[in-house]
């Protein structure tokens, strides 16, 4: 496993950092945002009804999910106090009967997975809604980490959502931009090369150098989608070579050691 990971690690490393930063722009003007709008308030009210039975802290979380980080911070000292008192007793911090058991609850979340039957729309599963629901669940879990349990295992797996659902959702708006950009760059490059060297478009395609140029342009368009991406890529490169440098340090400062030995 490790070996193949090694082989493919560079693209992997890019993905997590690249993708979050690369999308907000198109989305601002695009429809996913529009259809998210009406949904959010629905979620708010739903959350309230779900957690209404909870105690003060969880109720606060429900009323204002946006302020969740703040709320969880506020509840932190309480937890810690709880913990210090219990550890001074000598018993484990597991003695937290006082703490509210907050679990993610949603009518569509059944037995550790999303009940796909409830996501039917026109006798087809509405995968977009599933993605929304799972995103909300993870968001919630991030501010309210849940205890793991063997009795109620989580069986939901994102891979049950078909690939075209993801592509439809994320790729199309982005692809339009990238295609447009690549086409423009390609056209001007061809023009430039033609005007400088006199090699026509047809000959360029057969030329190895021009093929390489084309490849570089395509990769460049894919990797550098925004100006900040250049910085991100640089940082990534530093990060990947950092560990090597730490190891090589032994071999670099060797000269003083061996000269002393002489």
């Amino acid at each position: 496993m490790s070996s193949s990971m090694a082989l493919f690690s560079p693209p992997n490393t890019h993905l997590p950092t690249l993708s979050p930063s690369s999308f907000p722009k198109p989305h601002l003007t695009h429809k996913p945002y529009i259809f998210l709008r009406p949904k959010n308030p629905v979620f708010l009210s739903k959350a309230t009804s779900d957690n209404g039975a909870g105690s003060l802290s969880s109720a606060a979380t429900a009323v204002e999910p946006i302020a969740e980080p703040k709320v969880s911070q506020a509840s932190e000292p309480a937890l810690e106090k709880n913990e210090t008192s219990s550890s001074s007793n000598g018993s484990a911090g597991t003695a937290k009967e006082v703490e509210v058991v907050s679990k993610f609850e949603d009518p569509k979340w059944v037995n550790g997975t999303w009940d796909l039957k409830q996501f039917q729309k026109d006798s087809k599963t509405d995968w977009d809604a599933v993605i929304d629901a799972e995103a909300r669940r993870r968001k919630w879990l991030e501010s309210n980490p849940e205890s793991s349990s063997n009795d109620e295992p989580i069986v939901f797996d994102t891979s049950i959502i078909p690939w075209w659902a993801w592509i439809k959702r994320y790729h199309l708006p982005e692809a339009e931009l990238l295609n447009g950009r690549a086409a423009m760059i390609g056209f001007f490059m061809a023009y430039l090369v033609d005007s400088l060297t006199g090699v026509g478009l047809v000959d360029q395609i057969g030329n190895f150098f021009c093929k390489t140029l084309l490849f570089v342009a395509v990769v460049g368009v894919l990797l550098i989608r925004k100006n900040e991406d250049i910085g991100t890529l640089k940082k990534l490169l530093d990060e990947t070579t950092f560990y090597d440098k730490q190891w090589q340090a032994t071999w670099q400062d060797e000269t003083p050691g061996s000269s002393k030995d002489k």
């Binding site: 496993m1 070996s3 193949s4 597991t94 061996s258 030995d261």
Partner: protein, 470 residues
């Protein structure tokens, strides 16, 4: 495919195996005149061959620190006919440590089976959204991860060194005087306790020809050769005695929790020990928040350790990378003192013992079984061999940590990936036997595609999550 990948890693190193003389030589490649270079190398060999004989006695080597590294080094030295002194401050020290050893260590170091408290055959990885994946289904019946208590393992290795002729000194190493030239001995200063409890001990000195520093993360030997510092992670661990009915679950199972709540750059764990469990977590970047992470780890394992009593709380540093200088003159560092702990898994016992042994072997060989003095060149052979053998392992784990521990979506993808049987097989093979078995190219490709798929999906969800908060 695997081999190609590994080769490319080795290639990243400045001192790649193809030209090992740079390692001996050590100057940046650019400044080296070919002629000069040739001459220096020849000189080196000559020096080794005609190094002065030790007369009237055998070569004396002190091993500072009696952990796995020190114990293994002392044993090998003593067996090789070298007069060995092992200095250890606390002979019953139970170091805070996960205590997991790979299967191959049992064979390579000939460990008796009764020092292994538990045989872990199941691992559970638990993702930030609590998806639990069982790893270890691919293990064969005789395969397991051994859990040891460090006090037991350490004293066993020390005793064996003693049986082979090493002198074990219960003392605290203070400092050492470095000699002016290559033949006069090092003078070590230490406080001898001689089995007495309490008191400051007697000040003693010891003359030796070479020193192996195996005294852990806060190494005094490293300080005295000005070895430089490394970044370290802090590991926090609570030993919790849990009710018997809960312990049944942890009989042969270890748990790993990943998530931003548990640790921003490492994992939280529940490891079974002899009669209790160790619950802990570690971090490099947010050391101040370690208590919070520990609380979160306990919270994630809540139901499973309910009603437990904390019997011990411990914290200790874990090196992140080797020290800038791992040897000088006739002093070499091994184990944690040198910084040999892997990233990602945080494993160190096996590598400590192995490096101790490798260093001792270099000394035995260089001194022709204690008959000749050694010099830095002899010790360098150990470093070279070490880096050549294990650098790929360290690098792969570093890459894994960087890719998969960087954010919650990456961790989700990691756990998803660990559900794959092929991954489990490869992971365990490389963990248990410390060799990277050549994979099946087709499976590798499938794995890569699946992993990228998992990462993309998890990150897509993350984007969605960000939108919710805005």
């Amino acid at each position: 495919m695997a081999s190609i990948a590994l080769k490319s890693f080795v290639g990243l190193r400045q001192t790649s195996p193809e030209n090992p003389h740079f390692a001996i030589q050590g100057k940046p490649i650019i400044n080296i005149q070919p002629h000069h270079h040739q001459r220096r190398q020849r000189l080196h060999i000559v020096a080794g061959k005609f190094s002065p004989k030790v007369t009237g006695r055998n070569l004396r080597v002190a091993v500072i620190g009696g952990g796995p590294a020190g114990g293994a080094a002392a044993e090998t030295l003593a067996k090789g006919g070298i007069e060995t002194f092992l200095i250890e401050r606390k002979l019953d020290n139970c170091k805070p440590c996960g205590g997991a050893i790979p299967l191959c260590m049992v064979g390579e170091f000939d460990l008796p089976l009764d020092i292994i408290d538990r045989r872990v055959t199941k691992m559970k990885m638990i993702s930030p959204s609590n998806v639990a994946v069982d790893i270890g289904q691919t293990l064969k019946p005789h395969e397991y991860i051994g859990m040891v208590r460090r006090e037991v393992l350490d004293s066993y290795l020390r005793d064996r060194a003693k049986e082979n002729g090493a002198t074990v000194i219960n003392g605290l190493f203070l400092k050492m005087d470095s000699p002016k030239d290559g033949t006069t001995p090092y003078v070590l200063h230490y406080n001898e306790y001689d089995g007495k409890v309490g008191g400051t001990g007697e000040k003693r000195t010891l003359e030796v020809d070479a020193v192996i520093g195996a005294d852990g993360a806060n190494s005094r030997v490293a300080k005295s050769i000005d070895a430089g510092d490394y970044d370290y992670a802090i590991a926090f661990q609570e030993r919790i005695r849990i009710p018997d009915d809960k312990m049944v679950y942890y009989e042969n199972l270890a748990e790993m929790y990943v998530g931003d709540d548990v640790s921003p750059d490492f994992y939280g764990w529940v490891f079974p020990k002899c009669d209790h469990v160790a619950v802990g977590t570690g971090t490099v970047t947010h050391k101040g928040d370690i208590k919070k992470f520990q609380l979160a780890t306990r919270n994630r394992a809540k139901d499973k350790i309910l009603g437990g009593k904390i019997i011990r709380v411990e914290a200790h540093p874990i090196p992140e990378h080797p020290r800038p200088r791992r040897l000088m003159g006739r002093v070499a560092l091994v184990g944690d003192a040198a910084g040999y702990v892997t990233k990602c898994s945080g494993e160190g016992i096996y590598f400590a013992a192995k490096s101790g042994r490798m260093c001792a072997e270099a000394i035995v060989e260089g001194s022709e079984n204690g008959k000749r003095l050694i010099d830095e060149g002899d010790l360098r052979k150990y470093l070279e061999k070490w880096d050549k053998t294990y650098w790929p392992t360290y690098k792969v784990l570093d890459v894994l940590q960087k890719v998969f521990y960087r954010s919650n979506p990456a961790r989700e993808a990691f756990v998803e990936m660990c559900g794959d049987e092929y991954v489990q097989k490869m992971t365990f093979d490389s963990y248990l036997y410390k060799r990277v078995a050549p994979g099946n190219p087709w499976e590798d490709l499938k794995l890569a595609v699946n992993t990228i798929g998992s990462l993309v999906r998890a990150n897509a969800l993350r984007r969605e999550m960000e939108k919710i908060s805005v």
